[in-house]
């Protein structure tokens, strides 16, 4: 049993210079050159690291990406009395081997930024694996505090951790806490501040090397002596060289003169299996530390987590529960979010557009069109998605915080692996049936970078409500009683294409990622409302910033293409482009009007119908569009058009989201290129099938 509450100590003044950089200080409105403690939060995924970060920083957070990476960077300020603490929430990682971007970001930050204190947030109920990360951290210079989180969950599961014994065994401070209940966080702050301000010698227990490897390491250290530039530590570099760490090996090759590198190379060649004993030593160190900390496992105890997991991870019932959870989420999203979206549409799009039209009565038509169609129609429509996104992210935050997300990922994993995705990709892709934008943005919950990228690239192939709306309208007009079969077939074909493209990208372009062998299933625990609230807030803020910048820009470009030079879409650049593509469109039975309608769907999928109405003169003919179209287009052409429309590049907002989330024009353009090829191929095949069926 651990004591969770300790009397708060008075805050101290710093007795040594503290190291927060001026840029960060400016970010939080602190005076440059002032004292602030930089604290790095490190830990595995699902250990409550974000809960600790949110508790300490509240809304004083800056969220962005690590320079040159697609990994989220969160920096926050904790300022009560005493020295301000600047907290950096490093990406969740299991080790520091530089095998993944998360590991590289974490390792580079600790080595190069040298935070005053590193807080390792560990799950007390799964301490072994957390201690493995610690065995690597103790080789680096910054002092470490072990925040032993979720001790209540550990106790419920028959695991008692003696924090004091653990502290003695590790030679560093250990703070027992329950972050979800705000217990022990005060103690953590006090310990962090004490360590940052004091000049006590920091000497944690470190994994030992086997005597023969110790000699090899000593020889290696003699060879590299004087050639390891700060902030790298020669001992750490030596160990990493023996481990065969590629990044450090490349660095050392650059640092050392040729003759010294030759010596290093010879030593490493003779001891290429030293890694087995170095890494093996870490596992032994973990086992020894745990023995010293007197961890007791409740034997034969069937825990709540185990009882729930019998259902939630069951191959059949698990799928049923996931289906029910997803259905509930989508019920909330559409039953609650959709009416709110309609309301916001009235206030953010319709009313402002009417007001602008009224206010600018004497102004040129293009100015009114630019404001109403380009800006209000583009960005305003995007903002109406806020209620839907808020509910979706709240549901995701809830699943994540309770531990259910890992189970959902587990039961879907086997299916998603078939197309190179991880189980976590399921929920964001599923959301794509509503709108592709949140599907692309939701891919952030996928940890593995390649699987995240693949989820983003495949999201446009999930038919969104707008595409389904166009499909439903046109299928009913052309195919009458057979409309349902045609609609269902086209949706199934869409999902089959998604799977095939997933396999293709996985095997050809994104090959090489190791499939996770063990999926970590954290214990269930009560969700923390503050964490969920901040999760929702950060994602919505990112979305709003995006809508106000890149989406407005993209909307304006497309508006210009569909209005210039005459203000009439029939004679616009977009129409000229459509006419130029007509020879290709003919292969799928599409005339130039249908090509323009397809291209106009780039603004918003529903635009196809509006553009068809204009180009086919629905208003002048006195017939509705659905009555007019069957008289002008054959069912085979309609099938070709619908197949192309379903597989075509997504709307501009989704493209903007893809660019933002991948951080790369190359991936965005590759995705668009692939979708163009797939949609044209799909349209041609569908048209030919239509002709074979006698629909010409």
């Amino acid at each position: 049993m651990v004591e969770l509450k300790a009397p708060a100590r008075p805050r101290k003044a710093a007795s040594r210079p503290l190291t927060c950089c001026d840029t960060t200080l400016r970010q939080f409105g602190l005076p440059e050159g002032g004292n602030a403690v930089t604290v790095a939060l490190v830990g595995q995924p699902n250990v409550g690291k974000s809960t600790v970060f949110n508790l300490l920083t509240g809304l004083h957070q800056h969220v962005g990406n690590w320079p040159g990476k697609t990994i989220e960077q969160k920096v926050g300020l904790c300022q009560e009395e005493g020295v301000p603490l600047v907290l950096v929430d490093l990406p969740g990682t299991y080790s520091l081997t530089a095998g993944s971007e998360e590991e590289r970001v974490t390792r580079d930050f600790i080595i190069q930024q040298q935070p005053d204190v590193v807080v390792l947030v560990a799950d007390a109920s799964n301490l072994e694996r957390n201690l493995y990360l610690l065995s690597e951290l103790v080789l680096l210079p910054p002092p470490i505090v072990l925040a032993l989180n979720m001790v209540d969950v550990a106790e419920q599961n028959g695991i008692a951790v003696d924090a004091e014994a653990l502290s003695r065994a590790l030679g560093l401070s250990v703070v027992a806490m329950v972050a979800a209940k705000n217990v022990g966080v005060r103690d953590l702050l006090d310990v962090v501040e004490q360590i940052a301000c004091d000049q006590e010698v920091y000497s944690p227990a470190r994994p030992e090397l086997r005597p023969d490897h110790r000699q090899v390491l000593d020889t290696l250290l003699q060879v590299i002596e004087g050639h390891v530039p700060p902030p790298y530590q020669p001992y750490w570099v030596g160990v990493k060289l023996l481990e065969g760490d590629r990044e450090v090996t490349e660095l050392a090759r650059g640092w050392l003169p040729a003759e010294r590198w030759e010596k290093v190379h010879n030593i490493l060649f003779r001891h290429e299996d030293a890694i087995l004993d170095i890494a093996g030593g870490r596992y032994e160190w973990v086992a020894a530390v745990l023995e010293g900390a007197q961890i007791q496992h409740g034997l034969g105890q069937v825990t709540l987590t185990e009882r729930l997991d019998r259902w939630t991870t069951h191959p059949i019932w698990g799928l049923g529960i996931l289906g029910a959870a997803a259905a509930l989420m989508f019920f909330l999203v559409y039953a609650v979010g959709a009416p709110l979206q309609g309301l916001m549409e009235d206030y953010l799009v319709t009313a402002p557009a009417a007001w602008v039209t009224e206010a600018l009565q004497g102004a040129p038509g293009w100015v009114v069109s630019l404001l109403t169609d380009g800006i209000i129609g583009g960005a305003g429509t995007m903002l109406t998605f806020i209620p839907i996104l808020a509910i979706f992210f709240a549901a995701l935050g809830f699943f994540e915080d309770t531990g259910y997300m890992a189970r959902a990922a587990f039961v879907m994993d086997r299916f998603m692996h078939l197309i190179g995705l991880h189980g976590r990709s399921f929920l964001p892709l599923f959301l794509g049936f509503g709108c592709n934008v949140p599907a692309v943005m939701g891919a952030r919950i996928v940890d593995a970078p390649r699987a995240r990228l693949l989820s983003i690239l495949l999201a446009p192939l999930v038919p969104c409500t707008a595409r389904l709306g166009v499909l439903a309208t046109l299928a009913a007009a052309f195919f009458g009683p057979q409309a349902f079969v045609v609609t269902l077939t086209l949706i199934v074909v869409n999902l089959v294409v998604l799977a095939l493209l997933g396999v293709l990208l996985h095997r050809v372009v994104l090959r090489g990622e190791q499939v996770a062998f063990i999926m970590e299933l954290p214990l269930y625990h009560r969700p923390n409302l503050q964490s969920i609230g901040l999760f929702v807030w950060h994602h919505l803020k990112a979305f709003i910033v995006r809508a106000a910048t890149i989406i407005v820009g993209a909307s304006l470009v497309v508006w210009a293409l569909s209005n210039l030079p005459t203000g009439d879409i029939g004679t616009s650049y977009l129409a000229a482009f459509g006419r130029a593509l007509e020879p290709v469109g003919r292969l799928a039975g599409l005339n130039w009007e249908l090509m323009v309608a397809l291209l106009a769907s780039f603004v918003a999928k529903e635009n196809s119908l509006a553009v068809m109405g204009v180009l086919f003169g629905a208003g002048q003919s006195g017939l509705g569009l659905t009555d007019l179209l069957p008289t002008l287009i054959t069912p085979a052409s309609a099938l070709g058009f619908l197949a192309m429309q379903m597989l075509f590049i997504p709307c501009v907002a989704t493209v903007a989201a893809i660019k933002k989330e991948t951080g790369s024009w190359a991936w965005t353009l590759l995705d668009l290129g692939l979708l163009l090829v797939v949609s044209f191929a799909g349209g041609i095949i569908a048209y030919q099938v239509g002709l074979l069926l006698g629909w010409g």
């Binding site: 299991y94 080790s95 081997t97 095998g99 799964n126 072994e128 694996r129 493995y132 065969g244 299996d273 890694i275 087995l276 004993d277 890494a279 093996g280 030593g281 596992y283 032994e284 973990v286 086992a287 191959p315 086997r414 190791q514 499939v515 996770a516 062998f517 063990i518 970590e520």
Partner: protein, 83 residues
């Protein structure tokens, strides 16, 4: 400990990660990481999962395509036999 794990796997003395964890005195989670490490370092390789051979296996329903078979690489075999 990694050499011990390699020796056990190479000799076919373990039936799964849980078994390996028990023999090494680790949790299943940490033993899984150990196997991941051995794969990453090139001492073990994952054989293809449930290929056509599995169709005739009476236990295939139980593993549902989730099992993964590992074998020692050439480097792994050398490490086991070297002192």
């Amino acid at each position: 400990m990694l050499r011990e794990a390699l020796t056990l796997i190479g000799a076919g003395q373990v039936t799964g990660v849980d078994d390996l964890a028990t023999r090494l005195g680790l949790s299943s989670s940490l033993a899984g990481q150990l196997v991941d490490d051995l794969v990453r370092l090139g001492y073990l390789q994952g054989a293809s999962t449930c290929t056509s051979t599995c169709r005739s296996c009476p236990l295939s329903d139980g593993c549902a395509g989730m099992s993964q078979v590992f074998a020692l690489t050439e480097r792994g075999r050398r490490a086991v036999t070297s002192p």
